[in-house]
Amino acid sequence: MSAPSLLRTRAGLLRPTAFISHTNRLFSTTRQSRASDPTPTANRATHFGYETVTESVKQERVAEVFTSVAESYDKMNDLMSLGVHRLWKDHFVSSLNPGATNPIGTPQRILDVAGGTGDIAFRMLQHAHVNNGNPNVHVTISDINPAMLAVGKQRSLSLPASHQSSLSFLEANAEVLPKTIADNSLDLYTVCFGIRNFSNMPAALKEAYRVLKPGGIFACMEFSKVDKYPIFNAIYKQWSFSAIPLIGQLVAGDRDSYQYLVESIERFPSQTEFRDMIAEAGFNIVGKGYEDLTGGVAAIHKGIKPL
């Protein structure tokens, strides 16, 4: 599985021009200038699945992956997780309980980062506007990828008008959010199944810390480790490394993107490591700081910005 030759072939498939050697790519200036918003650490090494690339290259390649999967994203999520991702997302939103304010109707501002297709944002609006009867909750969907945002915009057209008017879209890099999002301006910052694709996670966490109000919550749902249950872990690994790329090939016609997906899950830090990263960014951790879903296939991490 991790044979370097196989991976190189795969990278070649994904990017026909990428048969130049690794070192060449490190110093390639054309690639960096194509990156939408170069970050200060664009030349630093990070990983893309099992490969090691520079941050700017990762950013571009992730963009390609998600441009390629945007159309089939929802269908694929259902197939890969056997529908469980819907339960996770519902639980995630209800555990945050947006819109429950005293007195009722106090405005809240939510930023859903890497939320292109709107799965979380639409649930937030439903929960806040309908379940909690608070129409003054506003959600901004931010994504670095215009293709994913386009899917979200399209899907948002079928929402009730009141929900649509409380929704806005923003194309932005989570590591350097635009100045239009002021310091200490948000109640809630969410990122679901997105943070593992970030080139520089600590920078993104710092940025989250900057934009949240004191007492605001950073909440992240991400694939995680199932190490606690060895037998289930074996089944899960088998599923993710054999079945998911195959489903990707058959349904979305794109094996490589889904191969990247499972590799990036494997590379993502464990629950406790990621919790420590959140604490490092300045957030306070409550309790053990994370909640395992389905035995740890996914985990919800939360941090609160101190007063």
Partner: protein
């Protein structure tokens, strides 16, 4: 099973070292810090029981403020939301609590258990409490009195505590409470009765608590009588079981000896 008593003492230390609520309530006029645990802190240190604080600074602050709203709003998300607001946090902050409403119930359980440890010294100075059994009764009653202000909300809390995801934590709290009571009463037993005592007291306490939720008598007189009847039963049943056990043991031993004297190779 190394000496349970010592491990209990160690845990007591850990709980003071972490001081989840003791530290918080230390500022409140009514309660004094747990002198009992503090005294021992100088003598023991436990590596086997690392301190795992049940509450950190943020959740403690929110829950302590929310706890004041329980008599009016119950153990509810609304009470937590109001508490967060009182503590100066924005409304969204209550979403940080890992178990929602159960966090507030857990706070009540831990706070009352620690209040009991603080009160115990004063309570046990009373000379009329001579036997360990009397002390256990007094401490259990004192803990039940801790439910006085929220007793009209306690049935809903019990329903939440019985939910499968919260049941383990609820039972662990109950076990910790009966452990505390036996420890504070000065029980030094390290034989198997260590377990039966705790199991029996857990049963007595939880049934008395349930009785109390429906008790309308002045200052819960009926609950008190109920508690003493149950404790009496446990003692008489325990005594009977002990006597029967002794008799069975003696008889078996004697029969073996009789058989041996007849030349049976046992």
């Amino acid at each position: 099973m190394a000496s349970p008593c010592i491990s209990r003492a160690a845990r007591c230390l850990a709980s003071t070292a972490r001081g989840p609520i003791a530290r918080k309530t230390a500022t409140a006029p009514a309660s004094s810090p747990s002198s009992l645990c503090r005294r021992q802190q100088q003598h023991y240190h436990s590596y086997d029981h690392p301190s795992t604080p049940p509450f950190g600074p943020v959740d403690r602050e929110i829950l302590a403020a929310a706890y004041k709203h329980v008599p009016e709003h119950g153990f509810s998300l609304r009470a937590i939301g109001l508490g967060a607001r009182d503590a100066g946090y924005p409304d969204i902050s209550s979403g940080i609590l890992p178990d929602g409403q159960f966090s507030l119930i857990h706070y009540h359980l831990v706070a009352q258990r620690e209040r009991l440890a603080d009160r115990s010294r004063e309570l046990l100075e009373d000379d009329s409490l001579t036997s360990v059994g009397d002390k256990v009764a007094a401490l259990t009653w004192e803990r039940l009195v801790g439910n006085r202000d929220i007793i009209h909300r306690w049935q809903e809390a019990l329903a939440i505590m019985a939910q499968p995801s919260y049941l383990p934590k609820s039972l662990a709290e109950l076990a910790a409470l009966s452990d505390d009571i036996w420890f504070l009463a000065g029980d030094k037993a390290v034989d198997p009765s260590w377990y039966t005592k705790r199991a029996a007291l857990s049963m007595v306490y939880s049934s008395s608590e349930l009785f109390m939720t429906n008790d309308r008598s002045p200052s819960f007189l009926e609950t008190r009588q109920f508690l003493h009847r149950r404790l009496g039963e446990v003692q008489s049943v325990g005594g009977t079981v002990g006597a029967v056990g002794q008799w069975v043991g003696f008889t078996l031993n004697a029969s073996v000896n009789v058989l041996r004297s007849k030349g049976v190779p046992i």
